[in-house]
């Protein structure tokens, strides 16, 4: 009996923590790479995008998990897409109503969450094979890993491009902003360096 509850606790912990680092979608799996490149000019839009992805992941994972026994294999992708599109639309409407400025900054990238492969990947790999609790925890873990990655990238870019962090000045007045950091080249360079760092850290940990 105790063994059973230990197993469950381990399963829940794994579902929650795996997405944070070991299977971090941005730094380890390199999937869903559009938002890390496109919406990381500042921390606020990156955080908004991250929270939106967490919401969609949790909801779509939960619904997929609840209908997993009814899914026909040849219809599962269309079911996942329908499910994800519903929650993305709700999220988009919510942002337009209560965070109009952020909705405007993120523009087409919020509706584009529908085609973010992280969400369909988690639905296929985890939610369609697991119970609701594991699926929700997996959504929170993977979404949080993605949000943290976005915020790290956005933080570096915002500081170097404007001298501010979360709109608060952190660099001395003599600091000359690196305008390239606001442009796509800044996203590619920062992401490349962070991926290199992530690889070094993983190799050190393994050795």
């Amino acid at each position: 009996m105790a063994n059973d509850s230990d197993n469950k606790a381990g399963l829940y912990r794994r579902a929650l923590l795996t997405g944070l680092w070991r299977e971090n979608p941005t730094f380890r799996l390199l999937i869903g790479m559009c938002p890390p490149l496109a919406v990381t000019t500042a921390v606020k839009p990156a955080l908004t995008m991250g929270i939106s992805v967490i919401f969609v992941l949790v909801c779509s994972n939960l619904v997929t998990s609840l209908m997993r026994n009814l899914l026909k294999s040849h219809l599962r992708i269309i079911m996942f897409t329908l499910n994800i599109a519903t929650f993305v639309t709700i999220c988009d409407l919510f942002l337009r109503a209560y965070a109009p400025r952020m909705s405007e900054i993120l523009g087409a990238y919020v509706p584009l969450i529908i085609v973010n492969c992280i969400i369909i990947f988690r639905a296929e790999v985890c939610a369609s094979k697991s119970g609701p609790i594991v699926s929700i925890l997996d959504g929170i873990g993977t979404g949080s890993g993605f949000t943290i990655a976005l915020c790290i990238l956005a933080g570096i870019r915002e500081v170097l491009a404007t001298g501010c962090f979360f709109d608060i000045r952190v660099m001395p007045n003599s600091f000359v902003p690196w305008l390239a950091m606001r442009m796509p080249v800044g996203a590619f360079v920062t992401l490349g360096l962070l991926l290199g760092l992530a690889n070094v850290m993983t190799m050190k940990k393994e050795s």
Partner: protein, 206 residues
């Protein structure tokens, strides 16, 4: 009969889910639409004031103004008269919309008090391709309209974008979006101008 049974067996979940998800979206839309409309109105007001800086208040024109769209469909348009502090007419503004490259584009267009020159336009809703079509929001493109004659405009693929006339230079890589904006302004501006003038609303000093 067996074919129908097979069809139902295979697709019932898809049909039921589509209905449920559709219902969920409809409920969310019904709950959030009023707030979205409030935000849109506030934005429209801010954008119009940015175009007509002398304006202190806007009064909706008390006349029925209808625009015939490309498909033959007619649309009622709300036209606003911009008044200065002294109550003089300093311009006109109206909302205009049409199909862009990716989705519907919605604009707010302002003209001068005599309805002779365009005071400019601002983008209210735009889901055009980031980095390409969404450049219609940028001043490089928008500034070409400021001071242009309030008549039919045409789009050209090359030329001096700083020259203010009825020729608008398209954005490189976003010709469809550039064309869409010109089309929207042409459709609404010319028809509204004709109706406003025909109804004697321009130049009555009020």
């Amino acid at each position: 009969m067996s074919k129908i049974k097979h069809f139902v067996e295979q697709s019932w979940l898809l049909l039921v889910s589509s209905f449920c998800f559709g219902l969920l979206i409809a409920m969310a839309s019904a709950a959030l639409s009023p707030q979205i409309e409030v935000n849109k109105a506030a934005k429209l007001n801010d954008l119009t004031i940015a175009l007509l800086r002398e304006a202190k208040r806007f009064v909706e024109v008390d006349a029925e103004i209808e625009v015939k769209l490309a498909g033959g469909k007619k649309e009622q348009v709300k036209v606003y008269k911009a008044l200065s502090e002294a109550g003089e007419c300093v311009g006109w503004s109206f909302g205009a919309g049409g199909q862009g490259f990716a989705d519907k584009i919605e604009l707010v267009v302002a003209v001068d008090g005599a309805f002779e020159k365009i005071a400019g336009f601002n983008v209210l809703v735009c889901n055009e391709t980031p980095g390409f079509g969404d450049q219609i929001k940028y001043s490089y493109y928008r500034d070409q309209f400021t001071g242009a004659p309030a008549e039919r405009l045409s789009l050209v693929k090359g030329g001096d974008s700083k020259k203010i006339d009825s020729e608008i230079v398209a954005i490189t890589g976003a010709t469809v979006s550039s064309e869409a904006v010109v089309q929207i302004i042409n459709t609404f501006l010319v028809q509204i101008k004709d109706q406003v003038k025909a109804k004697g609303l321009v130049g009555n000093g009020k």
